[in-house]
């Protein structure tokens, strides 16, 4: 029984981080936006949903929706001051932005309960299911969200909108010379990515039932980066694969403590050392990641051009 519960927990966490990786990949891998503050979207989605549900008493479904909307809005806000910045400045600003969000969560206790965190977050449809089957329901919910977002993002990337984003990533000046409003496109990319990450936040909050600013440290952003670098930027399957690999590594090392003579004081930093080294190693030796970016091929059949 405990093994099954652990597996369900693992799969749910993989799912939540898969959404975060898909969102980050949309920004980094497809649009070339180097977001070092991704955890901010995660936090905004989580806090928005659980605070509205706990304090304003709105239904959880609405909470999820508001989490997504506010995260998308946050994406819009971030895109404004950063519209003309080069990639490295963009990264620094988002790193700062992520920390500002966390600091606000810590210091504005009247809104966010500060360091105490938000407790007893209600779970959707909890009363309908037995205690035993509830985790399974949540797993199905998370999986459905991942599948849904995977297809939505894939649709977007395969559309002219997605083509523009990829072009911005590789040759922004050319896009401008072709009449593309790159600032607006980047903003739209941030809104979409924000909403996806916000959903992940809401799913997280209502599963764990207790969140605090501690859950939204910069380390989370670094984990997500490891996922997209290992999995492969520029394709959605890679993001999900990366989430699987890194999360399995992450979660399993928590349980290794029982079987290996290393104390948790050693395992925790060692885990992150390996994550850092993985990022470096992949960028040095396998920069495309485990799954390469796919080519979009058009085939011509009898004078009729069509998509393959």
């Amino acid at each position: 029984m405990p093994v099954v519960n652990f597996l369900i927990y693992l799969l749910i966490m993989i799912g939540i981080y898969a959404l975060l990786a898909l969102s980050l990949n949309f920004q980094v891998g497809f649009t070339g936006l180097i977001n070092f503050g991704q955890v901010a979207f995660f936090a905004v989605g989580a806090y928005t949903s659980c605070l509205l549900v706990c304090k304003a008493g709105i239904p959880i479904v609405l909470g999820f929706l508001c989490g997504m909307i506010l995260s998308g809005l946050f994406g819009y806000l971030i895109s404004i001051p950063t519209r003309s910045l080069k990639a490295d400045y963009w990264a620094i600003v988002t790193l700062a932005g992520g920390e500002i969000v966390r600091l606000i969560a810590v210091n504005e206790g009247w809104l966010t309960e500060g360091s105490f965190g938000v407790m007893r977050i209600p779970q959707p449809l909890k009363h309908l299911l037995s205690k035993g089957t509830y985790p399974l329901f949540y797993l199905v919910l998370v999986a459905a969200c991942v599948v849904f977002m995977y297809f939505v993002l894939r649709l977007l990337i395969n559309s002219p909108f997605g083509r523009n984003l990829k072009a911005i990533r590789d040759a922004e000046e050319l896009c401008l010379s072709l009449g593309k409003n790159t600032r607006k496109l980047k903003m739209e990319a941030m809104i979409v990515a924000g909403a996806v990450a916000g959903l992940a936040g809401a799913l997280f909050a209502h599963y764990i039932t207790y969140i605090s600013p501690e859950n939204f440290q910069p380390i989370e952003t670094f984990l997500m980066w490891a996922m997209i670098i290992v999995g492969g930027r520029g394709n959605h399957a890679g993001a999900i694969l990366g989430a699987v690999v890194i999360q399995v590594f992450n979660v399993s090392t928590r349980f290794i403590v029982r079987y290996v003579p290393l104390g948790p004081d050693v395992v925790a930093p060692l885990r992150m050392v390996i994550i850092g080294l993985l990022i470096v190693a992949f960028l040095l030796f396998k920069p495309e990641g485990l799954v390469k970016e796919k080519k979009k091929i058009y085939e011509l059949k009898d004078n009729q051009a069509g998509e393959l």
Partner: protein, 251 residues
């Protein structure tokens, strides 16, 4: 169509453009020549909005365009190519062509998600046009290749292809035949002439090859040290003493 008055652009102490005035008439092919460093590419960059100006006026189709962003200028019908051809590496040649198409509906997330049928239809039309153009440019065999894998000359052809897809009123071409084999270069020149006649397009072409300039351009402006040294027909220019001196005796 394009009226540049007294344009100035400084880089620190360097006067890259020192009061340049020139006019490109509608439906004409105008040449821009000059030694290296004379300011030709800088002129392109300022006119197309990539560099801000330090003085002067730029009027396009009766409207002032100095101060606008590059994409706003491009939307008004003024497009340019780059001296070292750019192409998004991980987009295929076909995708590059589609990228350039005008008036695409699916370019924002909402219509990409909810107006799929319309977007799909447009894509098919654009795809047809793109394939025709690629045939003309002899790039069909590369249509599904990543643009990043193309040679410099092939990328130049692709740049021209994108211009053709885009269909602007005025095209600024920065050394269109550099790196392209002579036969294909000739075809390109033919294409430019056809576009001028049949589709009433105007061109401003930066070129080093005087034969191309003499063949193609009705009027030529010579730039030197950021100033217009001379203007006239190709024949007049080729006999202008100052021009010959500036080029150290070259045709």
């Amino acid at each position: 169509m394009l009226d540049i008055k007294n344009l100035q652009k400084n880089f620190g102490n360097l006067r890259a453009l020192d009061g340049v005035s020139l006019i490109v008439e509608s439906e004409s092919i105008t040449g821009l020549i000059g030694p290296n460093g004379s300011g030709k590419t800088t002129l392109f960059n300022v006119v197309s909005g990539f560099y801000p100006k330090d003085g002067g006026e730029i009027t396009f189709k009766g409207e002032r365009i100095d101060g606008l962003t590059p994409d706003e200028i491009a939307k008004r019908g003024l497009c340019r190519t780059f001296q070292i051809a750019k192409a998004p590496e991980k987009l295929t040649v076909l995708e590059n062509m589609l990228l350039a198409a005008n008036g695409q509906r699916g370019e924002n997330p909402i219509s990409a998600l909810f107006k799929r049928r319309l977007v799909s239809k447009q894509e098919k039309e654009n795809l047809g046009r793109a394939t025709e153009l690629l045939t003309m440019l002899q790039l069909t065999h590369l249509r599904n290749e990543f643009a990043g894998n193309l040679s410099g000359g092939q990328k130049k052809l692709l740049s021209l292809g994108r211009m053709l897809m885009r269909n602007p009123d005025l095209i600024l071409l920065d050394e269109p035949t550099a790196g392209v084999n002579p036969t294909l270069a000739n075809d390109l020149l033919e294409m430019i002439r056809r576009l001028q006649k049949e589709l009433q397009k105007a061109f401003l072409i930066v070129e080093h090859n005087m034969k191309v300039v003499a063949n193609l351009c009705e009027k030529v402006f010579v730039l030197n040290f950021g100033k217009v040294l001379a203007e006239g027909t190709p024949e007049e220019i080729q006999q202008n003493e100052q021009v010959l001196k500036a080029y150290l005796g070259g045709t």
